[in-house]
Symmetry: C2
Subunit: 263 residues, 2 copies
């Protein structure tokens, strides 16, 4: 899928350094580790830590599932304990399928992303902790985290796999750094038409409509003109499209050869 390539984003990512660490506790399938690495790099994260991965490390299945996220896989660190894996971090956010008898603040991925960005901006290191597939985090690991993340999906069908959960939360982190001014009208090779070029097109069209007897009721003429102009205005035409429409009008009126096309 497409991405707005953007120097600001690249600069931001470099300024961020690693971004939050992702800590996978006892991950089972290499495919899932690879999918996590891919989702992380999609969102500019590169610090992946594994606590006692079931099938050891390195893992060939992780490589093939990562879609080329070697920048992440090459830097993976493996730990024997959750405590060791998070020792250098200041704040840890965890996803937890079930929480019993533990008092923790619970936030959405979007709220977590905003909090993480705040910590990060203040120079604190943050981490995102995910439990093993199927079972999720045990209470001892949840106790080590500051805040729980609950993804508020369809309550009747809320199960995400590990890679999808990492993607959604990493995506929210990434979005906290993306400026929304990226919105634009993609105009291909042509520049937007000037208002004069557009007016010239309207004049051409209305002149031809006049000659063709389109305006049968003189009192309705102004509103008819306004409606047609307003419709075409909304197209947001480029220079090239204005030229094309001059040609369309000329062709429709059979004057293509008699009348020089403007533009």
């Amino acid at each position: 899928m497409s991405s707005g390539t953007n120097k600001r984003e690249l600069a931001k990512m470099q300024a961020d350094g690693d971004g939050p660490a992702v800590i996978l506790i006892h991950p089972q399938m290499g495919e899932n580790i690879g999918a996590c690495a891919r989702a992380m790099l999609n969102c500019g994260l590169t610090d992946l830590r594994l606590v006692s991965p079931r099938d050891g490390w390195p893992n060939e299945k992780a490589v093939s599932a990562s879609a080329g996220a070697t920048l992440v896989l090459d830097r993976v660190r493996v730990f024997d304990s959750t405590e060791a894996a998070i020792a250098d971090l200041h704040k840890v956010f965890s996803t937890a399928a079930r929480v019993r008898d533990l008092v923790k603040p619970v936030v959405t991925p979007r709220e977590a992303a905003n909090e993480m960005r705040g910590h990060w901006s203040a120079g604190r290191k943050v981490g995102l902790m995910f439990g093993p597939e199927r079972t999720g985090l045990v209470n001892d690991d949840i106790t080590l985290s500051d805040t729980l993340i609950s993804v508020p999906l369809n309550p009747g069908f809320s199960s995400l796999n590990l890679g999808q959960a990492v993607l959604l939360i990493a995506y929210e982190w990434w979005m906290t750094g993306v400026e929304v001014e990226d919105r634009y009208l993609h105009t291909g090779q042509s520049e937007p038409a000037t208002k004069a070029e557009l007016q010239n097109l309207f004049d051409h069209l209305e002149g031809e409509l006049e000659q063709s007897g389109f305006y049968t009721h003189p009192d309705k003429r102004p509103s008819m003109i306004r409606n047609v102009r307003n419709t075409l205005q909304r197209c947001g035409m480029t220079e090239q499209e204005v030229r094309t429409f001059h040609g369309v009008i000329a062709a429709l009126t059979g004057r293509k050869k008699q009348r020089k096309v403007e533009g």
Copy 2:
């Protein structure tokens, strides 16, 4: 991963009916169709339309990859053309990897979600169109859509697979309907302590500290008390935790047997 079960969300989903349709143009792998169905249902979407799926329909691999999203798969409709698949829709949003020489508004998933919610609230039917794996949408299909969606990921590594792209955009749609007031402190089986219970704990602690000679400099006593209280205050203790801490203090001072634990 966890989900905040929420009656408001359920009610919203029922009120929404189908939500936006998802239209997959020439999807190739059944696994990807299944992953799309799963991501859709995670986010409350149920209207999946396929245009000329490569391996026909139904597809066993789609079923096994859907993680039980049969509510979506059972209602899939198959079409021969993009035009037929979108005929009943008012607005179509498309993801497009490459756009050449086509003038279209381009928005982020979050902006698209807000626009879709607006259309939906006004009673207009909207759709999300995705092209085939690898090649993406052809220009003829892009031309049929109103707006392009560009996911502003890491410009150096922006490729998403089909299921991930559907998940991110469907997630943004879902989030436009989730109220953020869901934020809460999960307190398990116990209720938050009252301020009186907390004050009782402070009194207990400070009395013991007094007796132990903790406050060697009388002038610093008030600020020392304030600091300890402030630290414990931030725990947001439950009734049960207050009782536990009375026990902790009693144990530390060796008075467990002499002093009845409050609470």
